[in-house]
């Protein structure tokens, strides 16, 4: 498994396929912090983020990036909703100064607006700060919008890798390795199968609309 430097790498695979273990092993990380652990519950967010950075400005920047109010710093960890906790896990990662940022299932528990903001954060980390990003997710519809490189893990092995186009357009392999095909590709394949029309590859629904209009 060769993580692409300064790119957005996404790791996909069915539940229990060993995605997380493989990434931790590859990046030589001992474990991934779980902010739901009992030891964090009595602490304020400020205290928790202090594990990663002592700089107030860095903490504030991380919170701003994921659209959490600065007042959150003084709140106890028990006061946050599930979705807010997910955002906090992301802020916690962002407070570090690593060259590679790892996000495990960052989309789970987030609404569309937050997921779209997160895409902007990943792009910013990549383009402005030249960071390597590794994301483990199960939501192919979401990652299809921004991933540069995709790894598919099955039975603890990387069985597919390539650009989003290479991986997701190979629908036979996606089915074989139990990866959900992004809806936008499913649509394009359905048009080709039923109507014998090639409308092309898109990862944005707005572009797809233009293609549809051109082909009807």
């Amino acid at each position: 498994m060769e993580i692409k430097k300064k790119q957005i790498n996404v790791v996909l695979g069915p539940s229990g396929s060993g995605k997380k273990e493989l990434i931790l092993k590859e990046l030589k990380l001992e474990n991934y912090p779980d902010l739901y652990e009992e030891k964090y519950m009595d602490k304020t967010l400020d205290e928790v983020l202090s594990e990663k950075t002592k700089h107030k400005k860095k903490k504030e920047e991380a919170l701003q990036m994921i659209h959490l109010s600065l007042d959150a710093l003084t709140k106890k960890m028990t006061e946050f909703s599930l979705g807010e906790m997910k955002k906090i896990s992301i802020a916690y990662t962002l407070c570090g100064r690593e060259s590679t940022y790892v996000f495990l299932y960052p989309d789970v528990g987030l609404d569309a607006k937050s997921k779209n903001s997160l895409i902007k954060v990943f792009r910013l980390l990549k383009t402005r700060y030249h960071k390597t990003i590794v994301i483990v997710s199960t939501d192919t519809n979401w990652v299809h919008q921004f991933a540069d490189f995709v790894f598919v893990v099955y039975n603890r092995n990387v069985v597919l890798e390539g650009s989003t186009y290479d991986v997701f357009c190979n629908t036979r392999n996606c089915k074989k390795y139990q990866i959900e095909i992004p809806k936008i590709i499913e649509f394009e394949k359905m048009v080709l199968k039923k109507k014998r029309k090639k409308i092309g590859y898109r990862n944005d629904i707005k572009d797809l609309i233009k293609d549809i209009y051109r082909h009807i």
Binding site: S17, S81, G83, K86, G109, N141, E180, F187, K206, Y213
Partner: protein, 233 residues
């Protein structure tokens, strides 16, 4: 009405449809989980008289050996368990433990463990959020059929817009209140409202709303195949 549960207290009145799939949707922190925890706590009997209510959250967990014991020993539910496990490529119940290496598979085990208790009202609050989408949709399809056959009421909370396609009734939450409720068809007409609340529509509905401005579709459809047929008649 006997086909409804009308829940009211020191919060807004919420009406669930009995024997239907009631989906909750709303931005994070809008109060869905708080409401569900409130009505399913020790007072649940007041809200759902004569019903067996089971609330399952994404954090639910029990000792794995205890859950496996029930899966293996409860002979009345063996066929059901085998049917569900086959969706995940597991042939024997006894070998299921070998497949549980992740939170997603653990959520499947917890789901089965609680569903075997035959709830009449089954509440899933992001309870399958870590299951990969390929298998989650297979499981939801199975649940939809099984709940209908056994006349069970499902209350389902998820932020995945594609999960809305299983719903009979959709409730949109905003700032601790039900903002809009109705059949799936009715609620999914409100694309502007979804956008304002920061929520996503299922792909095929989003496509419909965008295409209707070009006057190339005149009515919503619920599958990609139907949409393709509609566009290229």
């Amino acid at each position: 009405m006997k086909d409804e549960f009308v829940i009211s207290g020191n919060f807004d009145t919420v009406t669930f449809s009995k024997f239907k799939w009631n989906a909750f949707l709303g931005p994070i922190g809008c109060g869905k989980t708080t409401f569900l925890k409130k009505i399913t706590s020790s007072m649940s009997f007041d809200f759902f008289p004569q019903e067996k209510v089971i609330y399952l959250s994404d954090k639910e967990s029990y000792p794995q050996d205890k859950m496996m014991e029930r899966l293996l020993m409860d002979l009345d539910h063996q066929d059901m368990v085998k049917e569900v496990l086959s969706l995940f490529g597991v042939k024997e119940i006894s070998s299921f433990l070998d497949h549980i290496h992740s939170r997603g598979m653990e959520q499947v085990l917890v789901f089965l463990y609680r569903y075997m208790e035959d709830p009449t009202v089954f509440i899933l609050d992001e309870a399958l959020s870590m299951v990969d989408h390929f298998h989650k949709h297979a499981l939801l399809e199975w649940l939809k059929k099984d709940a209908k056959k056994k006349k069970r009421t499902i209350i389902y909370v998820s932020l995945d817009p594609e999960d809305l396609m299983y719903a009979d009734i959709v409730m949109l939450w905003y700032q601790n209140k039900v903002f809009l409720t109705g059949t799936r068809k009715k609620v999914l007409k409100e694309d502007e409202l979804f956008r304002r609340l920061g929520l996503e529509m299922p792909f095929v509905m989003e496509l419909y709303h965008k295409l209707k401005y070009y006057e190339v579709v005149d009515h919503p459809v619920d599958t990609i195949e139907k949409m393709v047929d509609e566009l290229w008649k």
